[in-house]
């Protein structure tokens, strides 16, 4: 027999309890990893290169207020601006869906391709899209999801615009932050709405990321004291302002995480102290035959750490495998895109498991250390 074998036998002496504690750690950590992945998904900023080179200009009053079309020529002339496109949210519904899983934006197709340089499309399709005023460019995720083909008609029912779009899919793209969106001609939208001469936002590509700060202030200054003052910001911070609408949900999820960890802590601590309390007399005998406090502490720590680690392995590994194999995007109707269990999330959950193992060993170890051999011998099992 080895010390390790002894620890293993002790840990498994009550198989049902060992199984239950490993199981509760596993289930809780599975849940924790899932929730942390959800938070990550909801707060993920676009990390691609193009995103950091892009600015979004919106009405200073609110996003819902339009901007005058005539701003375009002024924007074009601001130093550091490489390309500008109107970018107006349509918000239509596809078929009879209540909430459609992809957004649609009216853009200037030529300018658009100069702003969104990282999306990959075939040049032929782009040319066809530019040439067809009612053509549109559809992200590959949406193409796949709805089983669309280039050349198909795409009908969108307006929700706050009093008009419907009848588009023809001229091309596809992929490799952007979110390959779901549909883009179509701003001219077509203007035509349907009687050309109000306004756009939702301007999206801008700047020459260099480190100059974007200057460009932002130049833009804001240009439209100061005009009838439509603007707010320019980086694409990331623009996206984050949407994400912060999730702020409350994020707080909610985070508090659920804390409750999960706290409850798990209570469960493992009480399980472990029960397991050790039952063995007080045996531990006293071990002490009598020469085992020192530090050895006994090692036994207890190894046992609780072992159980927590096993539970952690099953829970964390299980979550990574489960969410990896599952087509989350499909199951969530496109609400969740990546839902990737990243190493960082796994590491944090593993840290929780390790802490559980250590923390639940402390109480019993102190109790054992405080009990003398003679006292321990008097406790009856």
């Amino acid at each position: 027999m080895t010390i390790l074998g002894f620890i293993r036998k002790n840990a498994l002496r009550n198989r049902r309890r060992a199984l239950l504690s490993v199981g509760s750690v596993a289930v809780s950590l599975f849940l924790l990893v899932t929730l942390m992945t959800l938070i990550r998904e909801l707060t993920i900023p676009p990390e691609d290169v193009g995103a950091s080179l892009r600015l979004v200009v919106r009405n200073k009053v609110s996003l819902a207020q339009p901007l005058p079309y005539k701003q375009l020529s002024l924007l074009d002339r601001i130093p550091g601006v490489v390309a500008v496109t109107p970018f107006t949210f349509f918000g239509g519904n596809y078929r009879d869906e209540k909430v459609t899983s992809f957004a649609q934006f009216a853009v200037d197709p030529v300018r658009f391709t100069n702003v969104f340089v990282e999306s990959r499309s075939s040049p032929g399709q782009i040319a066809a899209w530019i040439a067809n005023r009612t053509g549109c460019l559809v992200g590959m995720d949406t193409m796949r999801r709805y089983d669309m083909k280039v050349g198909d008609k795409l009908k969108l029912t307006g929700t706050f615009y009093p008009c419907d779009l009848e588009l023809k899919i001229e091309g596809t793209y992929q490799g952007s932050v979110d390959d779901r969106t549909v883009f179509f001609h701003h001219k077509y939208l203007d035509e349907l709405t009687g050309d109000p001469g306004s756009v939702g936002t301007w999206w801008i590509r700047v020459a260099a990321a480190d100059a974007s700060g200057d460009v932002v202030s130049a833009i804001n200054r240009t439209f100061q004291n005009t009838s439509a003052e603007v707010r320019a910001e980086s694409e990331r911070s623009f996206q984050m302002s949407f994400v912060s609408m999730w702020g409350n949900i994020q707080v909610l999820i985070e508090s659920i995480c804390s409750v999960v960890v706290f409850t798990l802590m209570l469960v493992t601590v009480s399980t472990m102290s029960m397991a050790i309390r039952e063995r007080f007399r045996e531990l006293a005998i071990l002490k009598a035959i020469g085992f020192r406090r530090r050895e006994i502490f090692t036994f207890i720590l190894a046992e609780s750490f072992g159980l927590a680690a096993l539970g952690g392995l099953i829970g964390i590994g299980g979550a990574a495998l489960f969410w990896g194999l599952l087509d989350v995007q499909k199951l969530s109707n496109g609400f969740l895109v990546y839902f990737e269990v990243v190493p960082r999330t796994m590491a944090r959950a593993a840290l929780v498991a390790a802490l559980l193992g250590v923390v639940s060993a402390i109480g019993p170890s102190l109790a054992v250390a405080r009990t003398s051999v003679v006292e321990g011998l008097k406790t009856l099992d």
Binding site: M1, F6, R13, R281, I285, G290, F291
Partner: protein, 226 residues
């Protein structure tokens, strides 16, 4: 017997404080024990037998007085040195619930050897020898619950012996056993002192058990009376 005593107890006192009152469990006990003796501690319940045994074996600390074993002042050792000292020098047999239930007889016997530097092979040899001595070679792979009370106690004796200690202490080792098993256990303890030259100290209430010893000490109210 004129040899130097292996255990020298000098003015040993143990007082338990319980609220306002002091309970004197041992009062100025002085006694010497020679190597190879089989000393039996007797006396009424509460007279301090277990207390004296615990102090000699180094699992409890005296209020005052000394215990010297082979010249080493046991009470002066710190916690971790004392544990080491017990591992090398003392073998324990208690009244009941002696063995670790999840370990086989052989593994229970091996436990104290895990603290020594012996390799697995040497440990197995020692375990086999100890189990042979108590006549339980065939039961090596049995768990405690598969053994009778008497066999469990013999395994405990094997565990007490396996490190080849100076002292074997036993607190009412036959208290829970039937007459036949008690006889076996006592016979083994007796042969330990007679044949192996071990010093054995045993607490018992049973005069028949006491007859196996080479010397009897009677305690009353914390003092040795005979």
């Amino acid at each position: 017997m004129d040899t130097d005593p292996i255990v020298e107890v000098r003015g040993l006192t143990k007082i338990y404080r319980q609220g306002e009152t002091n309970i004197v469990a041992l009062n100025q006990v002085t006694v010497g024990i020679q190597p190879g003796e089989f000393v039996v501690l007797m006396g009424p319940s509460g007279s301090g037998k277990s207390t004296l045994l615990h102090l000699i074996a180094g699992i409890d600390r005296p209020t005052s007085g000394d215990v010297l074993v082979r010249g080493i002042n046991v009470a002066a050792l710190n916690e971790s040195r004392l544990a080491e000292w017990r591992n090398r020098n003392v073998g324990f047999v208690f009244q009941s619930f002696n063995l670790i239930p999840v370990l086989t007889a052989a593994e229970n016997v091996e436990l104290p050897l895990l603290l020594t530097g012996l390799n697995a092979k040497r440990r197995r040899e020692h375990v086999a020898a100890a189990l042979d001595l108590v006549g339980l070679t065939e039961r090596a792979r049995h768990l405690p619950r598969q053994l009778s009370g008497g066999q469990e106690q013999r395994v405990a004796i094997a565990r007490a012996l396996v490190t080849d200690p100076l002292l074997v202490v036993a607190d009412e080792p036959t208290g829970n056993l039937d007459a036949k098993s008690a006889h076996d256990v006592l016979g083994i303890l007796q042969s330990l002192s007679r044949e192996a030259g071990k010093t054995v100290i045993m607490v018992t209430h049973d005069p028949k058990a006491a007859a196996f010893g080479s010397r009897q000490l009677h305690l009353e109210k914390g003092e040795i009376v005979a």
